[in-house]
Symmetry: C2
Subunit: 396 residues, 2 copies
C-alpha cells in the first residue's frame, strides 16, 4: 500500500525518511507492505534520493489508485482541508500532524471519514512522539476519564525551565529558545498559549466526543510571568508550568483553561523540563496516569505520523472510537464554573485584606478556591490598599 506525503518540511521529510529507512519494520508492524508514494510540495527537491517521487499536482495524488493513505504535514487550514476532504471522499485514509486543522475541522473530517469507511487519525497533532491518542481512545475508552492536564508546548516549557533553573529573564530565555530553534521568530502562537489551547481542544473533543472549540477556552500565555514569580513559587515548593487543562463536570459540560499554573515540586508534572511534554490523565477506574516524551522535533513527530499510517493500514474499517461531533450547543462550561486556588504576589499593606488566607511567605498568599468573578472582587480590595503583582492558579 502506498502512502502519499503532503508537505516536505521538517515533519514531512521525517515521515519520508522513516518510510524509506525503516520500511521493513513498518511493513511488519502494519502486516502488509507500506511504500512511500508521491510526495507533494510546491518546492523542488532535486538532490535527494527520492526526488523522483515529487509532484506539485494534488489531483495526480488523488487519482493514483495505489495511494491508500495520505499523510499531511503542510500545516494551516487551506489547502490542507480541501485536499484531505477530497482524499477521504475518495476512500483514502488520512493522517495528519496539523493541530490547527484538527482543532478547527476535526468533527467534519471525522464525519467524512466515517461516511466513506476510511480513517482520519492525528496522533502527531498533540504530544509529538508520545503515544497518547491511542491510549485515550482505546485502552482508556471505558475508564471514565474525568480530567486532563498537559504540558503541551515545548517552547514555553523550555523558557520556563530556563527561568526556573538559571533565573533567566523571560526575554533572555525566549531569545535563547529562538537561537536554538525551539522558538520561532514570531513566537506568539507558543508564548500566548494558542498552540497548547488547540491541543487541549483536540484531546477534550476526542475523549468526551463533542467539539470543544479553541476560541472558547480562556487562554493566557507565559508573557507576564516574571523571574520573581518563578522564584517565589520555588521558595514555596512549587514550579510554574504552562498547563492546558480540561475537566468534565457533573452536568456533562467541560471546563477548560490554558494558563501558567503552579505544580508541587517533586510531582511528576514538575519534572517535565526543557522541550519535553507530558499529559496527566485522571480516570475513575485507573486513577492518575501520565504520558511523557518529546512533544516536538522532526523524528518524534514523524514517528507518530507513521504510527498512524500503520494503524490505518491495519484497520479493516473505520475505527469507531475516533470520533466526535459538533454539538448543537457549546460544551464549554464557562470560565466561572470551577473555583480554583490562586497563588498571589502582592505589594503594599494588604495583610489585613487577606486575613484568613494561607500566607506562604512575605507578600505571597494562597487563596481559597475562587471563581474568576470572585477573584475580581478580591483583586479590587487588594488594589485599594496595595497592588496585586501576579495571580497563578494552583493545579492539585
Amino acid at each position: 500500500m502506498k502512502t502519499a506525503v503532503l508537505g516536505h518540511g521538517t515533519v514531512g521529510s521525517g515521515v519520508c525518511e522513516i518510510l524509506l529507512d525503516r520500511k521493513k519494520d513498518v511493513s511488519i508492524a502494519a502486516g502488509k507492505e507500506i511504500e512511500l508514494g508521491p510526495v507533494l510540495d510546491i518546492r523542488d527537491f532535486d538532490n535527494i534520493p527520492y526526488s523522483d517521487r515529487f509532484t506539485k499536482d494534488f489531483s495526480a495524488v488523488l487519482a493514483d489508485p495505489e495511494v491508500g493513505i495520505v499523510a499531511e504535514a503542510m500545516g494551516g487550514i487551506e489547502p490542507a482541508f480541501s485536499y484531505l476532504k477530497a482524499a477521504l471522499e475518495s476512500g483514502k485514509s488520512v493522517v495528519t500532524s496539523n493541530k490547527e486543522l484538527v482543532a478547527e475541522k476535526g468533527a467534519e473530517l471525522l464525519s467524512i471519514a466515517r461516511a466513506h469507511n476510511a480513517n482520519f487519525l492525528f496522533e502527531a497533532s498533540v504530544g509529538g512522539g508520545i503515544p497518547l491518542m491511542r491510549p485515550l481512545y482505546s485502552a482508556m475508552s471505558a475508564a471514565g476519564i474525568t480530567e486532563m492536564a498537559g504540558i503541551l508546548n515545548g517552547t514555553t516549557n523550555y523558557i520556563l525551565t530556563k527561568m526556573f533553573s538559571f533565573g533567566a529573564d523571560y526575554s533572555d530565555a525566549l531569545a535563547d529558545a529562538q537561537k536554538l530553534g525551539y522558538a520561532e521568530r514570531d513566537p506568539s502562537a507558543d508564548v500566548l498559549g494558542w498552540d497548547a489551547c488547540r491541543k487541549i481542544a483536540i484531546l477534550s473533543s476526542l475523549v468526551w466526543k463533542k467539539t470543544l472549540r479553541p476560541d472558547e477556552i480562556p487562554t493566557e500565555g507565559i508573557t507576564k510571568i516574571t523571574v520573581k514569580d518563578v522564584s517565589a513559587a520555588e521558595k514555596c515548593g512549587f514550579s510554574i508550568k504552562l498547563l492546558a487543562r480540561a475537566k468534565r463536570l457533573e452536568n456533562g459540560k467541560i471546563f477548560a483553561k490554558v494558563s501558567p499554573a503552579l505544580v508541587k515540586t517533586g510531582s511528576p508534572l514538575s519534572t517535565v523540563s526543557d522541550v519535553y511534554n507530558a499529559v496527566l490523565v485522571r480516570a475513575e477506574t485507573t486513577g492518575e496516569v501520565l504520558f511523557y516524551g518529546r512533544g516536538a522535533g522532526k523524528m518524534p513527530t514523524a514517528s507518530a505520523v507513521v504510527s498512524d499510517i500503520i494503524e490505518c493500514a491495519k484497520a479493516k474499517d473505520n475505527i469507531e472510537n475516533v470520533y466526535w461531533e459538533n454539538g448543537a450547543q457549546s460544551v464549554f462550561a464557562g470560565k466561572d464554573s470551577v473555583p480554583e486556588k490562586y497563588f498571589i504576589r502582592t505589594e503594599g499593606d494588604v495583610d489585613h485584606v487577606l486575613f484568613g488566607l494561607e500566607k506562604l511567605c512575605e507578600n505571597v498568599f494562597m487563596t481559597k478556591p475562587l471563581t474568576e468573578s470572585e477573584f475580581s472582587v478580591l483583586k479590587e480590595k487588594i488594589n485599594e490598599h496595595g497592588s496585586l503583582l501576579s495571580k497563578i492558579p494552583l493545579f492539585e
Copy 2:
C-alpha cells in the same frame, strides 16, 4: 458477547464490578454489548448481587457457547494454564492479569491463540492501570525500541520512598507497607525482585519477540539497601529505585537486570513515589517516552483487564503484533555484556585504591563503566585495604 471471569479475588471482583457498573461505557467502547458471564471460584459468594453467576465447574464455562472471552485473575501457573489453553483451543479469547503465567507460558499461549484465530492479551500483568502493552506493540511497534527501564513493583517503591522521605529503616518501612496492605506477610516475591523480574521478562519478550526467561535475569532485591545508602545517594543528588531494565544489544541479544539503581534527582523516574509505577522507554525515532500510573490495586488492574476485554471484542482476527517465540537459543546476553557505572560506599583507607575515580563525598565514589567481573576485581582490592559497604549501579 459474554465474558467469563476466573477467580473472584481482588482483581477478579473488580473486573465483575466494572463489567456490571460500567456496562454501557464498555459496550460502546467495544462496539458491541459486553456482558458479565459465569464467574468461577472455589469459594461461595452468596450475598452479592451477581451470586447467581458463580460456578465451580470450569467445563461449564468452556462449554458455554455464549462465552466469547475468558478473563483470568486466579494467579499461579495451574490450573490457570490448563484452563486458558482449553479456552483458546475452543476459539475463545483470553485476557489475564497473571504475570507469572505470562512470563512462564506466554509464548505457548500466544501460539495456541494464533492457531485458533483467538487473542491472548495481558495488559494487566505489568504496570496495573498504566496503558503500556498496547503502546509498545502498537504505536511504538516500528519506533525501534532499544531500551526499557521500569519501576514495576509498587511494594518496593513504597518502602524505598519511606526510607528516602522519612529516613525509615528497611524493616520499619516494610512493616509499614505490610500494615497498609501494600506488602504481603511473606514479602519475598516483591522485596527480592522476582515480581519486577517477571514483568521486565514479559515486556522484553513482547517488544523484541523472543522469550526472555525470568530465571536468566540477574535479580537483586532491596533487602540489602540501608538508610545510609539512601541518604548518601540523596546527598550526591540521586534517588535509589528498584529498576527492572532490558536493553537490546547490537548483536540482537538482550541485556537485562533487576536491581536497586541510582537515578538522578529531578529526572522523571526519580519522582515516581509510593506505590506508583513507571516505565521509561527509549526508541530510535521517538527518543524517551515514559508511562506512569498506579501499578497495582483493585480498580486500576481490573480496568486494564477490561481494556483487554474490549480489545478482544473489537478484534476481528488474531492481533499479529502480540506475539513472541521460544527461541532455540537464549536471547539473554550474559551478565557481563554491558559495563555499568557503580556508586560505591566504602570504609577504611581505600582512597589510594580508588585513585582516579570520581569521589562524590567521603567514602563514596562513582566507578567508571565496569562489567560484573571487572567489578569483582575492584572489590577484592578495596577489601584488602578496607571494606566495600555497598555497590549500586547508576542508570543514565
